[in-house]
Amino acid sequence: MPGVMATAADGLSRAPLQDEGVRTIYEKSQPGRRAFVAPPIDVPVRPLDELLPARLRRIEPARLPEVSEPEIVRHYVRLSKRNFDLDSGFYPLGSCTMKHNPRLHERIAALPGNARLHPLQDPRRAQGALELMWRLQAALSEIAGLPHVSLHPSAGSHGELAGVLLTRAYHEDRGEERTRILTPDTAHGTNPATVAMAGYEVVKVGTNEYGGVDVEDLRAKADQRTACLMLTNPNTLGLFDPRIEEIAEIVHGVGATLYYDGANLNAIMGKSRPGDMGFDIVHFNLHKSFTQPHGGGGPGAGPIAVSSEIEPYLPRPQVVRRCAGADGQEPFFDLDDDRPRSIGRLRGFQGNYGVFVRSYAYILSLGADGLQSASETAVLNANYLMARLTEVAGDYLPPAYERTCMHEFVLSGGSMRRQLGIRTLDLAKRLLDFGFHPPTVYFPLLVDEALLIEPTETESKETLDAFAEAIASILREAGEDPEIARGAPYTTPVRRLDEASAAKRPVLRQPRATPLGA
């Protein structure tokens, strides 16, 4: 029963199997064990030395595990049981859009025509894949309200890098040298990191008392040196900036571009489009709004949509449709590499196609009204949960901004800490004992003891209610004995881990007797 306090000593809440920890696959290795049986060498065998001289060969085999197939399966199935996952429970991790991942998508992605299609197959024999990509580009373009899409980048931050490099190419083409990029202090860490990687200086813009961009600060900092403003709207506080059109005007007024971090697109699909707000470049996180499963840290995909001014610089290759089916001709889908002003490639081949398949399947399933309804429900769920939490926990965990939120919202644990003596981290860890994944914690940075909560549209009212109840119970419990939360979690495969010593004396791989790379 979740919520019952367990102590380290009672041993009842954990299976003995988990108590001893899981040995690594290397520690289960026994010389001579194996799973793989090589196909026969069916060609005349020549001496290896003749084909590959010894000086080019490794001295000893790579020390890989020696295990039987049943042991491999058991090992990784056991490991899997030490994970919390979206299919098992509520995962309100703010900014991450942990919505349901339909299994249909896995089935389609695994079809041999997708899964075993070589990336260098002649386009004439990859028409299905190229058509899917072209159609996905068109759908994303419509959703973003911008005319051109490149599917190329591999994740959100890769899309950001592409977008900032597009900005660079755009300005350079005009003979302008701009050196700074503005990011709000609420920005996700990837934004400033991207700016630095693209060779620009970061200039921070403040946040006003309503949680929006401090427009006066923006006005003061936007000038001829400014290449771009990177923004997400709704922002990382879950708030839609009502002054967005004014912001766009200021940015365009100094000749800079306006970049949209699409991590929060789930709030506005079919309701509002970044292109209509005035953004020039948008990235999508297909692993957020468009259901690509997160896989414990990827894969994802980070397509970008851009205005006509930016289009010439898009990465290559670009998926295009030639002879669009006129005169009874079959349309032909192709990869266009001949883009002289392109910034070039940022990766191999034509992007994370397997992710495109899943996201396109999702768009087909939902359609225009379904996407809009998904965003409406995401916003409804978030506001409902915020209201419920204010009801049951408002004294300790008030919303950081008393406003209607979009698809997510931020609570501040400042008064909880002062009044109950537990921190946001303690609350998060105690939630694990109640069977919930905690929200994003300590982000955005400008909110004291922040909890960023994103329920998504795929959760039921009952789940949201149960989560609110769990928070209320933890606060009640902390009122009686804060030590319980401070020591949490108790029911998980391991308890709080010593991160400081992990960083101080890093053990990053299985130790071996002889050093590597001596």
Binding site: L48, H118, G189, N383, G517
Partner: protein, 457 residues
Amino acid sequence: MTRYTAVTDSDLREMLATIGVGSVEELFADVPGGSRLKRPLDLPPGKSEQEVYEQLRALAARNVSSEDELSFLGAGMYDHYVPALVEAITTRSEFLTPYTPYQPEVSQGNLQAMFEYQTAICELTGLPVANASVYDGPSALASAGYLAKLHNGRSRFVVSRGVHPHAREALRTTSAGWGTTIDEIDLHNGLTDARALAEAMGDDVCAVFVAQPNFLGAVEDLDELVAPIKQSGAVAVVSCDPIALGILRTPGESGFDVAVGEGQPLGNRLDFGGPSFGFFAAREEYLRRMPGRIAGETRDADGRRGFVLTLQTREQHIRREKATHNICTAQALNALSAMLHLSWLGQQGLVELCELLVQRTAYAREQLAAIPGVTLVHQQPVVREFAIRVDAPVERVLERCAAEGVNPGYALNRDYPELGEGLLVAVTERRSRADIDRLAEVLSVAVAAERAPAEVA
């Protein structure tokens, strides 16, 4: 309500009452008029699961996959056999659907798998530290460039033309704002021109990039290449094929600083080019400049062994503009696939697989070289890929072969015009001797048919 939501009419009423608004529309009051979409999205209406399946199955059926033809395509991604257990494990909800392991107490499976994977990458590359994955091979190489730039701040990259064209371009694109230039070193007899490389060195060289085996399949002599790089103080980076590392001298043994590469050959599907993953390993001195997530071992409050994401002060969420890279979401599930494949192959199995590839590839090379009008681009040792030149327009030759259900490989004329009508042929364990014989037969007919009549006579 749509297929993936659960709000009934009565839920909606209660929820709006709790929030204190009359309609969902009121929740969007902050969106100013000019930014509102006042019409439905111009997309088709939603479809049932079955309809979506049928429609996308029909699209997939229009692709000619490695299931439909006899394919020798490689050039960066390879049609290796992926054992069934990879799919069984990676489609489990517990690996498929969590986020990045921000809460280690409930992510031990994922974190331990990362630790095991990092170990395997270190063992393959002979280098002591590895991260938990980056996007893919070409972006991994570009990321190594950023590491070098942060490390020594120098201004010139030197890149062998044996490096995958996509990786060379990714470096060029990614480095646009670093104030760096790129010099390319030609190939000579299929190998990086060692003398030209040595001559290109200087104390302004930030990093040098080579590939093992190189894009033409040739095994480079890494020990010879590394000496002048070391002398100049540049960071020595090699992009490797992880399967070939099962038999080749490791980057670590040869003295390279950083090894990166495309991970797809390890347990990942072709997927028309992604998602796969890039691996990234380095010497200890570069640890604090590594990109991306790294899992490390530690203890919990009760003294039990456990794993966490560590050295996070390198990363964007802590260091922001001072981070060593901007990467956040990477390729965890693809790296897990690699670990599963490597566990399945095992220590001896990987060696046996490599020996099989070397023998079959040698056989294929011999058979193709015996065809009139086919010559080898180089005679260097190879593992599972080699380059030939056909005495006819290569595209036309490929087209004839395609009509016979055979795909002989990747035409090199666009990336390496200097080689003439070049073709890169890859052999995996899925291509038997009979398959190779069939390739030789079909290719020889195609080349004969396309050779200029005067030369045939």
